[in-house]
Amino acid sequence: MTALGAPAERLEGPEKVTGAARYAAEHPLAGRLFARPVPATVARGRVTGVDVSAALALPGVVAVLMPDDAPRLAEPGDPTLTVLQNPDVPHRGWFVALVVADSPEAARAGADAVHVEYAEESHDVTLRAGHPRAYVPEELNGTYPGERRQGDAEGAFAAAAVRVDVGYRVPPLHNHPMEPHASTAHWDGERLTVHTSSQGTTAVRTTLARMFGLAEERITVVAEHVGGGFGSKGTPRPDVVLATMASWHTGRPVTVVLPRRMMPTSVGHRAPTLHRLRLGADRDGRLTSLTHDVTTHTSRIKEFVEYAAVPARVMYAAPNQHTVHRVVRLDVPTPSWMRAPGEAPGMYALESAMDELADALGMDPVEVRIRNEPDAEPDSGKPFSSRHLVECLREGARRFGWEGRAPVPRARADGPWLLGTGVAAATYPVQVYPSAAAAQALPDGSFLVEVNAADIGTGARTVLAQIAADALDVPLERVRIRVGSSDLPAAPLAGGSSGTASWGWAVHEACGRLAARLAAHRGPLPEQGLRERADTEGTADAESAFARHAFGAHFAKVAVDSVTGEVRVRRLLGVYAAGRVLNPRTARSQFVGAMTMGLGMALTEGSTMDAAFGDFPEADLAGYHVPAHADVPDIEAHWIDEHDPHLNPVGGKGIGEIGIVGTAAAVGNAVHHATGVRLRELPLTPDRVLTGLLETGRPGPDRPGPG
């Protein structure tokens, strides 16, 4: 059929460009109130008193909820949601009160006027390698084991002809979707309706039902339009609990929008990671030993471990491997998912080390990777369902014009600009989860497809309608699709690049059943039409005999200003093997968007954990630099046709995250090629680059240009 693979325009596009699309805070219900949290100002301790008299005296302030009088909730399963339930302060920025008022201005004034007393305890927020409280966790985020060994990595490294032993550092990173976390809750008797900015409202409903002791049938959670998430809206965050609690308490609709400056400490962050990579190879560039040792932090209340050494279990044919994660519980905000958790920082380190290995070997970095292509997944021994990394590298090299690249660094300049190119590989696992969906044929000849997918900007609505149109064998225009409400058939979240595969599988099945039923149907349709449902529980989550991953290759060209140390990416190109690409228009936007975030990770993004205060001083969008227009060149995303029969009925591997994997390494490797300086800590800001250039003793271009 024709719908899939066509560059269909976003179905909700007209609403978004005219301002008609409504997001979670944009529901002006009668009598609505606005609530603002009060963040803790100590890094560890206990609330001993809250004086709300000044706040309550302000015009417009309706109520102040505090740890000792807020409605009691059941355990949520996620400790970050246990807000205002006890006086403990596990980290700075933890919410210790909530001011509810009749306007955003009054809520802000009220929050400023709340006076909180603490019993402060000494804290430790500083991550360092060899921290005495570091331990190897059983299980990482994503349920991967914390440590894996194959053969004798240590012995093979000691015996290797060529060795690379290097450390890298990735700072805390922040998702910062453009729409802050926001929720509007409204109780109507025993019925609760919540508009929330979420990557999956089925799970939000389950959590609220548990916490508020309410049957799921009495709760509707809606996320029609979501202003980005990148992992930070993957599970419910405190805003939705606070809004629901405040609405319950006041009996009126309540909106909670988390102020931008509170987001870094309250919605999760990518934990900082300290990497040690040891690569041993023979003189032909074949890896004999690979060790990836990661140290990271988590909070006191929740163990979340960024699985940065996991991609090393997938990538290269090293017979001796050791991958291990060490985590330290510190008095820091709880880290969480950020686009390609694990893969993004892990592949930065691994792919930078591979570049260093190529250097040590005097070999082309594309070739080194090709030489280490495994026959089966190194960690599991499973065959790959499909793996076209080598093709991505070759196709990328061809498109990029890699051939003829200067074999030594610091060979090209353009006036004061030092020029270089770099490459890095990318990988991301195929994930798919059970989902339900329904499809309905209506008498007017149209079809209604329902699934509680979340369109966080991916184009989920559009691609699911395309899947439905093909399964029904009808033109796209005849398909209407409803997503983004927990009243629709239950579905997993938009995360792990799993959405399209998971929801699409169920939509495909429901539509297939409906088509079969229609084929057998005689006469006109009944007034309510015909409806079919599907649920992929038991099929989508069946264990696969194959190792299933998407692969890709990133190529970057950079210019480094020898005067200032400023780095500009002049060209960024990605080639992906990610199964079937279902909508090239929206797919390209996702690839390019993730590469842009990778560019930010390489050059501009990063925060600091303040040792004295326990938060991130780069708390807002002036201090935390997400890339701006001027940072981003014309980015090219390509893909190779990949037909993998071991995935799902629609044949896609997931594309939302792989674009950020390895991108920072490609840029960093290009900076090394331009300057001869190997910088091993992100981001590559002018302070680091200029200092590195000066340390070489060759700060400027070797042949100074005019002027």
């Binding site: 004295a612 205060f613 001083p617 002036a622 630099h625 001027a630 940072d631 002018p686 700060p699 005019p706």
Partner: protein
């Protein structure tokens, strides 16, 4: 943000009177920094005296060839003004290197001068800051201070002034005109901002109730080659890590006039008088520029994480000065 009274002034006298009538009042211009700081709780005015409708929104060429820029001229209009672009290009370039198109459309000339540091500890009322709350301490000295001052800092404060525009004004020998109850006075732009010393709460020499009414660009520097350059973490829309404004005139193979100011290195735009003295009368060579910059920056006292600013500022100064040397003089 607490509530406040609002007064719209129609004349300078009205503005001053309203200010005096409301203890704790602030003048409001474009508001791009003041409203931001009010939302943060850093500024808590009891009243705002809106001066945006005063007739101070013109750029006027005076008979002596100098230029008078009304304090309410918006940053974008200042940068686009043909007389400014042609006569004092460093000023136009500096303004365009700052903020965003939207902010420049709202921000005023006077307000730009009076904007406050972006030190994250100053902006966070839950943390100590001697500038915001004298005597409370400084979170930056041992904390995050990569963006902070390397010149002229004090025990109490290491904040850097964030303006780009003010750096150009300092290099160009501009003057700031102030209106107050005691009358009108002029202050050299390079002396308008203070070093922190024991009183970091005072950014400038302005007295309570005084209003910036104009900035004056001297005829002497009109048409002289000048330029501004800034290094930053993003390619656009970021504050300077370091910047340089310079004006350079060469006659008979030697430097006849030079003005140099550094941005983001100190609590105020740092006029590089030592470097200027060293260059005056010297041949405009790269080596001379390097020596001059080193001489000026010898006073730098970097902290743990901002030592890079010294070579960065040096490189910027040498680069900008080298570009200002007329082609035939270039060595």
């Amino acid at each position: 943000m607490e509530s406040f009274a609002y007064v719209r002034a129609d004349s300078l006298a009205e503005a001053a009177e309203a200010f005096a009538a409301h203890p704790g009042a602030r003048y409001l211009g474009g508001g791009t920094n003041l409203v931001d700081l009010m939302k943060l709780g850093v500024e808590r005015p009891t009243a705002l005296v809106d001066v945006t409708r005063l007739p101070l929104d013109r750029v006027t060429e005076l008979p002596d060839g100098s230029l008078r820029i009304g304090a309410l001229v918006r940053n974008s209009d200042l940068a686009a003004h043909p007389r400014v672009r042609d006569g004092w290009p460093a000023l136009s370039q500096a303004v365009l290197a700052g903020a965003s198109g939207q902010l420049r459309n709202a921000a005023t000339t006077g307000g730009n001068l009076l904007q406050r540091t972006r030190c994250p500890y100053f902006q966070d009322v839950s943390k100590p800051c001697n500038k915001r709350r004298p005597g409370s301490g400084c979170g930056a000295r041992e904390g995050v201070h990569r963006d902070h001052a390397v010149l002229g800092a004090s025990e109490q404060c290491i904040a850097a002034h964030p303006s780009d525009m003010a750096v150009a004004l300092a290099a160009l020998d501009a003057e700031v005109e102030l209106y107050g109850t005691a009358g009108v006075r002029r202050v050299a732009a390079a002396d308008f901002h203070r070093l922190p010393g024991a009183h970091p709460e005072r950014d400038t020499v302005i007295e309570p109730g005084e209003l910036v009414t104009a900035v004056l660009l001297p005829a002497a520097s009109a048409g002289a080659p000048s330029a501004y350059r800034k290094a930053r973490d993003r390619a656009s829309y970021a504050f300077a890590l370091a910047s340089v404004a310079a004006v350079l005139e060469v006659a008979d193979g030697v430097v006849a006039h030079v003005g140099i100011a550094f941005g983001a290195l100190a609590h105020r735009p740092w006029r590089a008088r030592l470097a200027e003295e060293a260059l005056l009368g010297a041949a405009p060579t790269r080596a001379a520029f390097e020596r001059a910059a080193d001489l000026e920056l010898a006073a730098a006292r970097p902290l743990r994480d901002n030592a890079y600013k010294v070579p960065l500022a040096r490189n910027l100064a040498v680069d900008v000065l080298s570009r200002l040397v007329p082609d035939q003089e270039d060595s």
